[in-house]
Amino acid sequence: MSDKDFPPPVKYLDDRLGIGKIGKKNLRKVFPDHWSFMLGEIALYSFIILILTGIFLTFWFKPSMGDVQYQGSYSLLKGLHMSEAYASTLDISFDVRGGLLMRQIHHWAAVLFIAAMMVHLLRIFFTGAFRKPRELNWVIGFTMLFLGIIEGFIGYGLPDDLLSGTGLRITQGMIGASPVIGTYLNFFIFGGEFPGDDMVPRFFTVHVLLIPGLILALVTVHLFLVVYHKHTQYPGPGRTEKNVVGYPLMPVYMAKAGGFFFVVFGITALMGALLQINPVWLYGPYNPAEVTAGSQPDWYMGWLEGSVRIMPGFESHFWGITLSWNLIIPALLIPPAFVTLVALYPFIEEWITGDKREHHLLDRPRNMPTRTGIGAAFITFYGLLWVGGGNDLIATHFGVSLNNVTWFLRFAVFLGPVLAFWLTRRIAISLQRADNDRILHGLETGVIMRLPHGEYIEKHTPIGTYEAYELTARERKLPLEIGPETDDNGVRAPRRALNKVRAALSRFYFADSVQKPTQDEIEEAHAHGHGPGDEHEELTETETFHEVTKH
């Protein structure tokens, strides 16, 4: 041991930076293995790809709205007046070798970045990975998603083509609807009236400096916390709240995760080569008096667009002021309310469940039916708004009335989530029952036997111990009980009303969840599990809280 020393360059760095100690802790750090853990990786890698390709693009892009006459090699626009931003985007696309490829990789990676963050968020949500101690990392992640969406939107606003200008015009109109300060905000953000000549240079700074800087800082904290908390893992044999089971960073994850970066980069590069995205030369330069029919934002803005599209046209005029409910509600109230609810979800659930313990074992979505149902409701709400963003395309592609599509969505955004919640929760509960059946009765073999007295039964084989443990490796979660109204001395319990709400919510969360079987139930089932008494046992085996309390 003592005669071993680092090779000279490592020793040099260790003597000055102490990298040895960091390496000792992290070189063989264990990460659990599951396909769903790579979703965040896709987001991280697309962010790196965005930085790399973005730097390339800044070498040629001119963030200026100064008027020029286009003289590049795209003959259809030759001689036209346009902004330097648009002209330089054309130059990148037609005159810089590899420029179009980098532009298209950049745009595809942006689309992928936000999609990956969103799916990663769903994975975290449905498996309960946001629970203590990771609530703050959830908020950090969510902030990155929010910043990423703004970053992407501003990004495709920079080329100053007809589509990007239309997007910015819509944003300007929305900002203008803000009560009291709307007009002033617009004049300060756009440097005067729309479009002016400040928006591209200003948004460029935000796009290449401010937001990427913030995201980079947050990514660093996010990853530091992942390392510090150690990764969550799915329940299973040998996996506990106190350990983490998996493969070491060096060499397995260096190769797997490092390799995966190249896979993501490779795929985005192939997309950049083969799949056209945002062909700005077809749209022409921005002209505030023109727009293309069927204009669509990038996919992640679709839900906001839909929210605005399906809102009926209400406006109030009184005391010399205008309140544009048609924008305030869909653009200034609903989206912030939605994102705030999502961002605060870990804290809301923690309050309802009263659970202040650390959790490192993930929930299977079926084992938290109410949470899973809520998730499905959120997805449905988001999805329907997103569909609303393409109501015109749905109308033209399917030959249906635009007005009917819009009217349908006006109701569906409220009813759809309720339906999705109920359906998902029922499915989750059914899956819990199916799990219990599997534990208690084993697998159906397909072998039919005839008993001496004539009855036919299907033979079941018990499942293996490892699988049985995996299926039962979850907690029994029961609703919170609130204590008696008054204590022994007749003093009323404090915050009674609040606690009642909390107990009701807790009941809503857990009352219908199916508990895993007890040891006695398993023994009983195995003892005479295949006998004629089977039918009657069903009820007690899969008792829910409601059923127990009814007895």
Partner: protein, 353 residues
């Protein structure tokens, strides 16, 4: 590490009862990590060698493709086109992207194959530690903090602490105030356009003035004020800003189909009406006209306006009709504006009234 991999203690969840979770005896004891099952590459050296060849082939190909992309950079002209069914496009872009993309993908695929098939795949265990500090650490930290507070006199010398807070709070002001010059104050800018009495209505592409006889019933023309084009030479920015407010549509509708709002009886000429082209919702230029119904639809959010009925909203999120420009005919018989718009054009804003 070897002791980490040894047998795990049984789950110690028992006799723990906390909020929301009741832990009764576990129905099935934790059997510990499943035993490692060797892969073919662990047993058969030939299979392992085969994987080695696969991985090195991928890495080797990646190197060749990367060099190939550099060759393509110089060899393929920037404007060459590749025509190959759905895979048609710019040849330079495609060859660079295909070579680089495949090279990157192969590096990644090779590394992952190496990790999955050849690297040791026995799971190992690491123990977690709670995020919080131990009680001794907490005591140390609290003591250190209190000592620091004590030695600085921050809580004792109230004058210092309060004035410092005031100084820091004051720094918030310049961070806002210094941004004042981001833009001018709105003033009356949103209330006016460059339309004025006697300004001719011109076609927005040809810039030719329009006579009533140029328009047939059912026709819609995108138009602009005659004084717009000259601005472009002086100031392209002012030109864009003016255009964003002054763009109009002129439509000719059979007079018997028109329902004229009160007070606008003399705003049209023989069924020729002029409306702002800027949507009253969020300001997109409105452009989809349906001749038979006289409806015009905004392509951004599908607000629909009935041009024969004072451009009132008949569907969609817009809340107000498109402002109408009063028309007249000048001495030479061309369409002109009687005045500027009588209300602000474009999206709503707080002070609009």
């Amino acid at each position: 590490m070897s002791e980490d991999q040894s047998k795990l203690p049984a789950v110690s969840e028992a006799d723990e009862k906390e909020h929301g979770a009741v832990v009764v005896s576990e129905p099935i004891r934790d059997p510990g990590i499943e035993p490692h099952e060797p892969r073919i590459t662990d047993i058969d050296p030939k299979a392992a060698d085969r994987v080695e060849r696969q991985v090195s082939t991928m890495f080797g190909l990646a190197a060749l493709l990367t060099v190939g992309s550099c060759v393509a950079y110089f060899a393929i002209p920037r404007d060459a086109e590749l025509v190959f069914g759905p895979l048609s496009g710019n040849a330079n872009n495609m060859t660079l992207g295909l070579t680089l993309g495949l090279a990157l993908f192969l590096i990644g695929a090779g590394a992952i194959q190496w990790a999955k098939k050849l690297m040791v795949d026995e799971e190992i265990v690491e123990y977690r530690h709670p995020a919080h500090a131990t009680p001794e650490q907490k005591a140390d930290i609290i003591e250190g903090y209190q000592q620091g507070v004590e030695e600085s006199g921050f809580t004792r010398r109230k004058l210092i602490s309060r004035s410092l807070i005031a100084a820091m709070a004051a720094l918030g002001l310049p961070t806002i105030i210094f941004l004042r010059d981001l833009g001018p104050l709105p003033g009356r800018k949103l209330y006016t356009t460059i339309w004025a009495k006697g300004i001719r209505v011109v076609n927005d592409v040809t810039l030719r003035p329009i006579k009533p006889s140029d328009l047939q019933v059912g026709q819609l023309v995108n138009a602009a004020p005659a004084n717009l084009a000259p601005i472009e030479e002086e100031s392209p920015v002012e030109y864009q800003n003016a255009k964003a407010k002054a763009a109009v549509i002129i439509v000719r509708i059979a007079p018997n189909e028109i329902r004229t709002p009160a007070g606008r009886e003399n705003w049209g000429i023989d069924g020729i009406l002029c409306y702002s082209k800027i949507c009253t919702h969020v300001g997109c230029p409105i452009s989809l006209y349906e001749q038979t119904t006289h409806h015009v639809l905004c392509p951004c959010h599908q607000s629909t306006f009935d041009l024969a009925d004072g451009a009132k909203v008949i569907f969609g999120p817009a809340a107000r009709p498109l402002p109408q420009l009063p028309l007249a005919v000048d001495a030479e018989g061309y369409l002109v504006a009687q005045s500027d718009f009588t209300e602000p054009v474009g999206p709503s804003f707080w002070e609009r009234g």
